[in-house]
């Protein structure tokens, strides 16, 4: 993965009107298996297939993805019951068996 050297970016910030907004930028080529490389050969399909988000120790979101999610996947969502200082953790797994995790603490608005 060309973008693998860059770390995942995970931010969780309290909203003025309650709840916590989570923004994540994962680093992954999300190869569809359709694209041809410089040598003309198809680049094998390889993509994130599962994303799990925990608020403290509870699962808040589980996503299953195909190759149709954009390269370097960006996702944004809101956790209504989260508070400043809570831990938000995210883990992805890809079709090659690789995984990455990141954790952050909720910061104030």
């Amino acid at each position: 993965m060309a973008t693998d050297a860059l770390p995942m970016r995970l931010r969780a910030q309290a909203l003025a009107d309650g709840g916590v907004q989570v923004r994540v930028l994962m680093r992954h080529d999300m190869e569809t298996g359709q694209r041809r490389g410089e040598d003309g050969a198809r680049v094998p399909r390889r993509h994130i297939h599962t994303v799990t988000v925990w608020l403290n120790d509870a699962v808040a979101l589980r996503a299953q993805w195909g190759p149709g999610v954009a390269r370097d996947p960006f996702m944004q969502f809101t956790l209504p019951s989260a508070k400043v200082g809570d831990a938000v953790r995210l883990r992805w797994e890809d079709t090659a068996g690789e995984s990455r995790s990141a954790q952050t603490a909720v910061v104030a608005a």
């Binding site: 709840g19 999300m30 569809t32 359709q34 694209r35 041809r36 680049v43 297939h49 608020l55 509870a58 699962v59 808040a60 979101l61 589980r62 996503a63 299953q64 993805w65 195909g66 190759p67 149709g68 999610v69 954009a70 390269r71 996947p73 960006f74 996702m75 944004q76 969502f77 809101t78 956790l79 209504p80 019951s81 989260a82």
Partner: protein, 142 residues
């Protein structure tokens, strides 16, 4: 128990929400993907499903969407693009810890309907669709 409470109880039990999507991602059309996900019957168009997508995507490699629902007993947000080689793009399992509104960027190979299917606790499904034009396809195919 209210429908909402029942849905949350089902969520807490972790069943039947762990949809096994692998077969659905292998499907080559929308109907096949939904059948593989166990969605019962034809999804019913509903104002409780909120899909925000551009009218025209300049670059099919990055198409920003917002997927949301106000259906109280929603369990999953299921995103499909008819014109993609793999029509099923994403299955998001909702929990009580999450506002059912997710922003996500996807790929589109060509102009196509984008469909957001909301699965309900009883297995029925609602849908909202939008046609999106694509200037340059984003799946890297020939």
């Amino acid at each position: 128990m209210s429908t909402r409470r029942a849905a949350l109880a089902t969520l807490a039990a972790g069943w039947p929400l762990a949809l096994h999507a692998a077969d659905a991602f292998a499907a080559r059309d929308v109907a096949g993907a939904l059948a593989a996900l166990g969605v019962a019957g034809e999804p019913r168009p509903s104002a409780l499903v909120h899909l925000t997508a551009p009218d025209v995507a300049e670059n099919g490699a990055v198409v920003p969407l917002t997927l949301a629902t106000s259906a109280p007993d929603a369990t999953h947000l299921i995103l499909l693009v008819d014109g993609n080689p793999v029509p099923l793009v994403a299955v998001h399992e909702l929990t009580p810890l999450l506002v059912p509104r997710i922003e996500l960027r996807i790929k589109m190979a060509q102009a196509s309907p984008v469909r957001l299917v909301v699965r309900l606790a009883d297995g029925r499904a609602l849908v909202a669709s939008k046609q999106v034009a694509v200037i340059q396809g984003g799946c890297g195919g020939d």
